[in-house]
């Protein structure tokens, strides 16, 4: 747990504060994404948490302990730090880069070596291949994986990440985000994650802190709350017109009531319900009949574990007004219809 209490920052020779009276609590084991327009002070706020920037007033609490006046270098060894430029030391091997903090903490050689290998495994890099390479021999995505491993090196309870995937191409970024969430499931760190990308904030954050100019905390809530109920005009404008679509990516299909489907040949023909043909294993093979459409639409399926966003994506892609939801064994569990989706997601939820 890390918390800021009444923290302000006034830079010398500037009359107006960069951050004003900020209270922010990051709960244990959660990812909080800090987002806001350029120059809103989100990076300043992050750097005050490990006191790379000293706050002018207020207190910083790490696991309940007041660290506002603790030794800054000692404090920073207890907090992981990952930056956009990665900042791997070009004159050190990958293993030595990861080992920097453990060595400063006086770990013995064997413990450092096994920790380095463990972390390389964790971020999906084969230690034998990468341990002795130099940073310049790695791609940008690999470098940032090492950056994350280095941040985790001494197993700090808290990680601060400043746009770690900001300089990486969109496809690799997407993959790194997925891997990052997978790593977080295993390590369960308390993480502050600065980003300027709303999709990233929504995807990664358990909670989102939206900042307005001068470090004013405009809203601090779960992603779906921020998207559905912006606290004020600023947040509404910042979240923007894409908010409804973004919310779909937060909504798992398993939380929706699915339309019933009938398996063809299993009883009376149902005129008002979709009828599905299945193969020998019980997996859907084709539509037998779909009410309200003349021709039988193409069969598209989506797993129960997917989000509504993914369901919409396959519907648009397959020109299908209805999609079969299947469970892990490929058995049909229900259907999701385009028209009911649109109706249910109306802000007022009024039926057609």
């Amino acid at each position: 747990m890390i918390a800021l209490e009444g923290v302000s920052k006034i830079y010398p020779k500037q009359s107006k504060p960069a951050v004003t009276e900020l209270n922010l609590q990051v709960p244990e084991g959660a990812i909080v994404t800090l987002i806001g327009p350029s120059g809103c002070g989100k990076t300043t706020i992050l750097k005050m948490m490990n006191r790379l920037i000293e706050p002018t007033t207020g207190r910083i609490l790490l696991a309940g302990e007041d660290v506002t006046d603790a030794n800054g270098d000692q404090l920073r060894r207890r907090i992981g730090y990952v930056i956009q430029q990665v900042g791997l030391f070009p004159h050190l091997t990958i293993a030595d880069n990861i080992a920097v903090v453990p060595k400063m903490l006086g770990w013995d050689k064997r413990r450092v070596t096994s920790r380095v290998d463990e972390l390389l495994h964790l971020v999906g890099m084969e230690p034998g291949d990468f341990r002795d390479r130099y940073p310049r021999q790695l791609s940008g995505g690999q470098q940032q994986r090492v950056g994350v491993a280095r941040g985790l090196a001494a197993d700090p309870p808290v990680m601060l990440m400043d746009e770690p995937f900001g300089a990486i191409d969109p496809i690799t970024r997407e993959r790194l985000q997925d891997e990052f969430l997978e790593v977080q499931r295993q390590v369960a760190k308390t993480i502050c994650f600065v980003t300027h990308d709303l999709s990233e904030a929504v995807k990664l954050g358990d909670r989102i802190a939206v900042f307005a100019a001068r470090g004013r905390l405009a809203q601090y809530d779960t992603p779906s709350e921020v998207l559905a109920h912006p606290a004020d005009d600023f947040v509404a404008e910042f979240v923007g017109s894409g908010a409804a679509v973004r919310r779909l990516s937060l909504l798992p299909i398993s939380q929706l009531e699915l339309a019933e489907i009938v398996i063809s040949g299993a009883g009376a023909a149902a005129k008002d319900r979709p009828v599905l043909s299945v193969d020998d294993a019980g997996r859907p093979s084709a539509w037998h009949h779909v009410p309200g459409s003349e021709r039988r639409p193409a069969l598209v399926t989506v797993p129960l574990s997917a989000t509504v966003y993914e369901a919409v994506d396959v519907m648009l892609d397959g020109h299908a007004p209805v999609v079969v939801v299947v469970d892990d064994d490929g058995q049909p569990r229900g259907a999701l219809r385009w028209d009911s989706l649109v109706a249910d997601l109306r802000p007022n939820g009024q039926p057609r």
Binding site: N50, L52, D73, Q74, L75, R76, R77, R78, Y81, I83, Q85, V86, G87, L88, F89, P90, H91, V100, V101, M104, Y134, R136, R150, L160
Partner: protein, 248 residues
């Protein structure tokens, strides 16, 4: 090792040129000289034991002054590169540029009148003449270290001192060594002026033979100084290559 040798040679082919030029040049001059009749004055100036003693003085002047420059200019350069020194950095470097612009010949004579004739004064003059390249390269080398690396180092909990010793200096070493190389070469050349204040060196046979109109001896001694300068530059180049080799 044997498998790596061809690549190693190919990468460093440019380093072969200087030694070849030195050997061939000296051989040509020596051949030319041995086929000529030398008078007693020339024979005395080109006597091996006499030349060897002047050579020793020359090396001492060069090495001593360069070591003093390193001892003084490196710490000063490191201090100037710290953020706290940002305000006086430009001024100090400009002053260094001014000192550098003074002609070494004038400085060495003036210093002799102030501090007396002899080797110590010559070394001080050489230090003044070669101070700036080392200072500038130290400052530039440290300032060109990517700020993101310094931020990462501090963010991980390295103290300012650890960041300097483990990150900044190792990354600045190639540029710093390049500055020391320039200082060495400057000092080899300027040390020929030491003879005018009685500090010996290879400048002594050159200036005396020039005075007495013995072109043959001037040629030989000048060739030795030139060869020495090339060789020292070559050695420093090899050292530079070794140091920066790790960084590719």
């Amino acid at each position: 090792m044997t498998a790596a040798a061809p690549g190693w040679i190919r990468r460093n082919r440019d380093l072969v040129a200087a030694p070849v030029i030195v050997v061939v040049g000296l051989a040509v001059v020596l051949l030319y000289t041995t086929n000529r009749q030398l008078d007693s004055v020339e024979q005395r100036a080109l006597d091996p034991s006499y030349l060897w003693a002047r050579f020793g003085e020359h090396i001492w002047l060069t090495v001593a002054s360069t070591v003093v420059v390193i001892i003084l200019a490196l710490p000063l350069g490191i201090a100037l590169s710290r953020p706290a020194a940002a305000r006086i950095r430009t001024g100090t470097l400009a002053f260094g540029g001014f000192m550098q612009a003074l002609p070494a010949y004038g400085v060495i004579i003036l210093l002799a009148f102030l501090l007396g004739f002899g080797t110590t004064t010559a070394i001080i003059a050489l230090v003044l003449a070669s101070f700036l390249p080392v200072l500038t390269n130290t400052v530039v080398g440290l300032l060109q270290v990517d700020p993101a690396l310094i931020e990462a180092a501090r963010g991980m909990g390295m103290s300012a001192r650890q960041t300097l010793l483990r990150v900044e200096i190792p990354l600045a070493v190639p540029v710093m060594v390049a500055g020391i190389r320039v200082a060495l070469v400057l000092n080899v050349g300027t040390a020929t002026l030491a003879t005018f204040i009685g500090a010996g060196g290879l400048g002594e046979p050159i200036s005396s033979m020039l005075y007495l109109g013995r072109g043959q001896a001037v040629l030989v001694t000048s060739a030795i100084v030139a060869a020495l300068a090339l060789l020292i530059d070559w050695l420093a180049g090899v050292a530079e290559r070794l140091v920066s080799g790790r960084l590719g």
